[in-house]
């Protein structure tokens, strides 16, 4: 089923929103309002957005994004405000300041936050989709991994497990040429990442990751297969990381001209704009979307900026289900004054045994 004009404009919206939101984050980073590193997906927006778009919200499909899949999270309903709050470590951010950047999510949100340890989300998503299968739901899962993450044991164990169990899972390898400074040629001797599918006995497909419609198509096929009970698909999306690993990285290891060439010839938004224009979408209509996005981001920035930092005691909450908060340690100022009320503290391990 071909995408409608509306849906295509939505794809455009999400790609543009991803880029503009990240650009805003760069400004905030330069103003030192972002805490920690900033990770860009410039030039990779199509793969995140196109792949996520192939999932079905109404069926409760779930994805696990990576650091460069902000676009996928936006498609699934993440709000610019939350994203900026996260990057600013605010107290009313989705993780209340506990986790950084786009590490957030939940089952009901349609995306599950990653951890830093690469590859680990593959087994986790194998389990998520195993549960759906056991319950006879027709929920599908999708997990992103980078070219670099395919070298981890967790990737291997997770995809193999899911393949044997025929979990309804789509594994997307986002091949953007580099893992930090390491080019693909030092990551694997395989000719392509889609070739790795054979070793797991699952279909492997490759697509142009900077062609959002191609990304959507290849992912949709895989999602449909999964939903039909045909198990796991490995998809390799070829794209390119135009920015450094994070903002601080000067990309000295990149051959001269490579970035410029991808920017000039293969920008996913430019390419999609051409497609849309060919389909008679007016430039003005696209510019209106751009304006809307700018306004949304402005509002989001203001809200996030005005948000409070977390209450320090939040740090002690939420480790265990049955225990609202860990007891504060006795040597903390606020605590020790209470300790001093006692003749002699009976417990100096934790406060007041």
């Amino acid at each position: 089923m071909a995408l409608t004009r509306e849906q295509k404009l939505e794809l455009y919206y999400y790609m543009r929103l991803t880029r503009s939101l990240e650009e805003r984050l760069v400004n905030l980073y330069r103003q030192t309002k972002v805490i920690g590193g900033l990770f860009r997906s410039l030039g990779q927006e199509a793969d995140a957005v196109g792949a996520a778009y192939a999932l079905d919200k109404s069926k409760g499909d779930l994805l696990s994004p990576l650091i460069r899949n902000l676009g996928a999270m936006l498609v699934r309903g993440a709000e610019p405000t939350e994203v900026i709050k996260q990057y600013m470590a605010k107290g009313d951010s989705p993780t209340k300041g506990k986790e950084l950047n786009i590490h957030f999510g939940g089952v009901e949100r349609g995306f599950i936050g990653q951890i830093s340890h690469l590859g680990d989300m593959v087994p986790v998503m194998a389990g998520v989709t195993l549960a759906s299968k056991m319950r006879g739901e027709d929920r599908v899962g999708l997990v992103f991994v980078g070219d670099g993450a395919t070298s981890t044991g967790a990737f291997h164990e997770g995809i193999n497990f899911a393949a044997v169990q025929r979990c309804p899972l789509v594994v997307v390898v986002e091949n953007n040429g580099y893992a930090y400074s390491t080019p693909v040629s030092k990551q694997t001797a395989a000719k392509s990442f889609s070739d790795k599918a054979i070793g797991y006995g699952i279909p492997g497909e490759q697509a142009d990751g900077n062609d959002v419609l191609a990304v959507y198509d290849v992912t949709k096929r895989a999602v449909d297969r999964a939903r039909r009970g045909e198990g796991v698909t490995l998809i390799e999306l070829i794209t390119y990381r135009r920015k450094g690993h994070a903002e601080h990285d000067n990309q000295s290891y990149v051959p001269p001209g490579e970035i410029e060439r991808w920017a000039a010839e293969n920008d996913p938004i430019d390419r999609f704009e051409k497609v849309l224009r060919g389909e008679k979408v007016k430039a003005a209509e696209l510019r209106a979307i751009d304006e809307r996005i700018k306004a949304e981001i402005d509002i989001a920035t203001d809200i996030a900026d005005a948000s409070p930092m977390p209450d320090p005691l939040e740090a002690l909450r939420g480790v265990y289900a049955g225990q609202p908060s860990v007891a504060p340690l006795w040597f903390r100022e606020d605590v020790s004054s209470a300790v001093e009320k006692h003749e002699r503290a009976s417990g100096w391990g934790t406060y007041d045994v």
Partner: protein
């Protein structure tokens, strides 16, 4: 009622919980038709089918990771490590993903990771480990280590119903060596509560798992030969530690010996000593001492294994020294 073994207690718990709650399922290597290397899951697949008793590839990372993912979705997975020695392969997944998911982003992992641990069986360095200390250090996990058949059953049932991840260290030496009449009904032993295995007044032993039995033997010897009354505390849960029970016994007897099968340096006895020092310094009439394994990988040959692991007479000698202090 007839007596059942420690192993059978665990098997009963799995059966009963799988009967009670369709969300409970088991996964692991060779747990299905074969019933597991020690037959703890024997008969489960026959009863509940292959989709609830899943034989997996040899992939501890995937087993634990998939359990976590399924747990997020409301399932109650019970993952078996064929030997607890292999849980080290899932160390990253457990400490970084499972232990933090709730704290970081509000995703719970109600799951159990269980399997045989411990030595005294000539299993050599990789089929005898007591890897609890490695996880004891990780907020977000719970650790259970039963010493009796009824605790094995009751704690397993509690672990399956717990809303967080419980590492359940079974002791393979105890599997078929101890027996007990099981309490009737829905027998649950709460996580986090120690048990006074023997009342005493002169000196306390704090221990858990297989060395509980050596501690009890030593207590008998002390009573018979020295007229010394030894209290024995079976921790049962290692994380969270039952501070109350520890403090109570120390303040009662004023002399403490901590015993564990695990190696000495970095073992759990260190943390217990620190807590006692912090909370009971003035109550102590003698230094807190430890009887533990020596700091070496566990060797295989009987004379070597026997020399490395704590024995009853080691405990007796240590108690005598504490009492004489």
């Amino acid at each position: 009622m007839s007596e059942v073994t420690y192993l059978e207690g665990i098997r009963q718990a799995l059966f009963e919980e799988m009967e009670r709650d369709v969300n409970v399922f088991c996964l692991g290597e060779d747990i299905g038709a074969y019933g597991g290397a020690f037959k703890v899951t024997d008969g489960l697949q026959e009863r509940f089918g292959a989709s609830r008793v899943i034989d997996t590839p040899i992939s501890e990372v995937a087993i634990v990771g998939a359990a976590a993912g399924a747990a997020h979705m409301g399932m109650r997975p019970v993952a078996e490590m064929q030997f607890m020695d292999f849980v080290s392969n899932a160390y990253d997944m457990l400490t970084n993903y499972v232990a933090t998911a709730r704290y970081r982003i509000g995703l719970g992992c109600p799951m159990v990771v269980r399997g045989p641990s411990g030595g005294y069986v000539r299993g050599g360095p990789f089929h005898s480990q007591n890897p609890e200390a490695a996880f004891f250090h990780t907020p977000g996990l719970k650790i259970v280590s039963p010493a009796t058949a009824s605790d094995a059953k009751g704690l397993m049932k509690a672990a399956i119903r717990d809303d967080d991840c419980v590492l359940f260290f079974e002791h393979k030496y105890l599997y078929r060596r101890i027996k007990e009449v099981m309490p009737a009904g829905d027998h649950i032993v709460p996580i986090g509560k120690a048990r006074t295995a023997r009342e005493g007044t002169d000196v306390s032993i704090i221990t858990y798992s297989a060395t509980l039995w050596k501690a009890l033997e030593a207590a008998e010897i002390m009573q018979a030969e020295d007229g010394v009354s030894v209290e024995v505390i079976d921790l049962r849960t290692l994380l969270p530690l039952d501070d109350e029970a520890i403090v109570a016994t120390v303040r009662k007897t004023n002399r403490v010996l901590i015993v564990h099968e695990d190696t000495r340096t970095g073992g759990i006895a260190g943390e217990i000593t620190a807590r006692i020092s912090e909370t009971c310094f003035e109550w102590l009439d003698a230094p807190v001492l430890r009887v533990t394994a020596a700091d070496v990988p566990l060797p295989y040959s009987p004379p070597l294994e026997d020399y490395v692991l704590p024995q009853t007479l080691d405990i007796v000698r240590a108690l005598r020294r504490i009492v004489a202090y």
